[in-house]
């Protein structure tokens, strides 16, 4: 516990001093602001265009449009930022050999994994909450307060998918000792999951559906049951990957 807290402290200090924490927060605040703004601007922009004589009459934007932007941006820009910021989470330590000093001082290897996962997850959670809070605040400001149906399942899903991404980045970084390994693992998982999604039967079970798919719950086109299996699978896979990180690291010769 003592060494775990010491390593967590080091991780926080690292994320702070290497501008990673600030980058994450800035990106997710910006992302939160962009959603209602884009929703507001799209009809204005399209209405102003002359589509070859056809006059597009866009309906006035509604709160739901803002949330549509939210899920679209989180699943793309948000995940991209998460991957960029944490691609070196484990990879940098191995590429540079910075763990040798502390491991020979009696720091256990699983402590390193757990502390890294904890701190990265906390930063991701904070960033995600900020994006959600900012979008919600502006959406209320523009369109008034409306209750969000199935709020827990709807908004926890992209967050859980983010945790899976952090796990993949860590495992790739350990297994291949470099940033490219981390990017390959996270990118590979996203590509494979997206390919699997070509078959509609898999949607219910596929974690990648969680990244942006739960918009359907707000729009009323899906039910929570459509996402629960994927949520369990995604959470299970994340736990399995973290365990995998520990096992891989324990066997790794340094």
């Amino acid at each position: 516990m003592r060494t775990y807290l010491a390593f967590c402290k080091k991780e926080f200090q690292e994320n702070w001093r290497t501008y990673r924490l600030l980058s994450m927060i800035a990106v997710f605040v910006a992302l939160g602001i962009m959603n209602p703004l884009t929703a507001k601007l799209i009809p204005t922009l399209l209405n102003g265009m002359d589509m070859g004589g056809v006059i597009l009459e866009m309906p006035d934007p509604v709160a739901l449009d803002s949330w549509a932007q939210y899920f679209s941006n989180i699943s793309q820009l948000g995940m991209l930022a998460l991957i960029i910021v944490f691609c070196g989470l484990t990879a940098n330590e191995f590429a540079k050999g910075t763990l040798i000093n502390v491991l020979t001082k009696g720091l256990t290897r699983h402590t390193v994994i757990l502390a890294k996962f904890t701190v990265a997850s906390l930063i991701w959670t904070l960033s995600y909450l900020i994006a959600f809070g900012v979008t919600w605040a502006y959406t209320i400001y523009f369109w008034g307060y409306e209750t969000l149906p199935h709020i827990v399942v709807t908004f926890i899903s992209p967050w859980v998918f983010g945790l899976l991404m952090i796990g993949c980045l860590m495992l790739g970084g350990i297994a291949m000792s470099g940033i490219y390994g981390a990017l390959l693992a996270a990118g590979g998982v996203v590509i494979v999951l997206n390919l699997l999604n070509l078959s509609p039967a898999v949607h219910r079970y596929n974690p990648v559906t969680l990244a942006g798919g739960t918009y359907g719950l707000l729009a009323g086109t899906s039910t929570p049951g459509d996402f629960i299996p994927a949520l369990w699978i995604c959470a299970g896979a994340t736990v399995a990957i973290v365990v995998g990180c520990v096992l891989t690291f324990d066997r790794k010769q340094l």
Partner: protein, 301 residues
């Protein structure tokens, strides 16, 4: 008690047999030079002693406690200075030592005191910039400090001087000598003059085997002197002496001085008797001690 004992240790990477059944023991309280050319397997051996690599065969004991791969308890007695110590560049030296101190379980008060002692020892007491801006030599010295944070009984240093300029090298050797009163120091090197300067024991690793091991004086004694230097006051004495002495012994000859390469003491006694018998009086008769370099070259040839 031996601080480190290695028994029949073997390790290969793929088909390349790096360490082939070596055994050695290092008693407490020595400065031990671990000599070998680049790629001889010095780092590999040290990493196995630290549980960072798993041996293919054999066992390693620190203070009679077995070293296990992965998380080894024996590391509580050990400090390690890697050949190129890597730090978190965003930390300051004191912060790094605090982090290390927290990991080994020192109290905040102990950490503050120990950090100050160690930073003063390695000459970084006044430095408060981030480690990312440190020179190579400063990092090496901070490396010594972090390795000593838990007051280890054994300090293992991997080529601590190889990448340093002469000033940096002298600083690090001085620090190692200074701590050797309380800590057994093992350091690997291919720089033989470093061994001569601070070690009292040494072993030579060559092609996966220990080809030479013992205290420096033992090794030198065992190999006897490697020659004699005999000096005369007059060239005619030199001339007479060279006629009498077996030609195979003469290594070098000047007007008044002859250097003989002898292989054992019998040769040296014979030369002395020869001088007495023919009543030649040398002004100097001196045994040339073998250098570590001689020993090393002899051992690996």
């Amino acid at each position: 008690m031996d601080i480190l004992r290695i028994e029949n240790l073997s390790k290969s990477f793929g088909k390349h047999q790096v360490i082939d059944g070596i055994s050695m023991s290092i008693p407490e309280g020595s400065v031990f030079g671990f000599i070998g050319e680049n790629g001889a397997g010095k780092t590999t051996t040290m990493k196995m002693a630290l549980g960072l690599l798993s041996p293919d065969a054999g066992e390693i004991f620190v203070l009679e406690e077995k070293v296990r791969f992965g998380m080894t308890k024996t590391n509580r007695h050990v400090g390690y200075l890697p050949d190129v110590p890597q730090f978190y560049p965003f930390m300051r030296p004191r912060e790094y030592l605090r982090f290390c101190g927290e990991i080994v379980g020192l109290s905040p008060a102990q950490i503050t005191r120990r950090s100050q002692e160690l930073l003063d020892l390695v000459g970084l007491g006044e430095t408060n910039k981030r480690i990312g801006t440190f020179s190579r030599g400063m990092k090496q010295r901070l490396g010594v400090a972090q390795a000593l944070i838990n007051s280890p009984k054994l300090l293992i240093c991997d080529e601590p001087t190889s990448a340093l300029d002469p000033v940096g090298r002298k600083e690090v050797l001085d620090i190692l000598r200074q701590i050797s009163s309380t800590t057994t120091v093992i350091f690997s090197t291919h720089v033989l003059s470093d061994v001569e300067r601070i070690c009292d024991r040494a072993a030579v690793l060559h092609q996966g085997h220990i080809v030479l091991e013992g205290t420096l004086s033992e090794l030198k004694d065992r190999h006897g002197s490697s020659g004699l230097a005999v000096e005369f006051s007059h060239p005619s004495d030199t001339h007479r002496f060279c006629e009498l002495v077996p030609q195979r012994l003469i290594a070098q000859r000047t007007e008044t001085e002859v250097t003989l390469s002898t292989t054992d003491e019998a040769d040296e006694r014979r030369v002395l008797k020869l001088l007495a018998k023919h009543d030649i009086l040398p002004v100097k008769f001196e045994a040339i001690a073998p250098s570590v370099e001689n020993l090393y070259l002899e051992a690996v040839s």
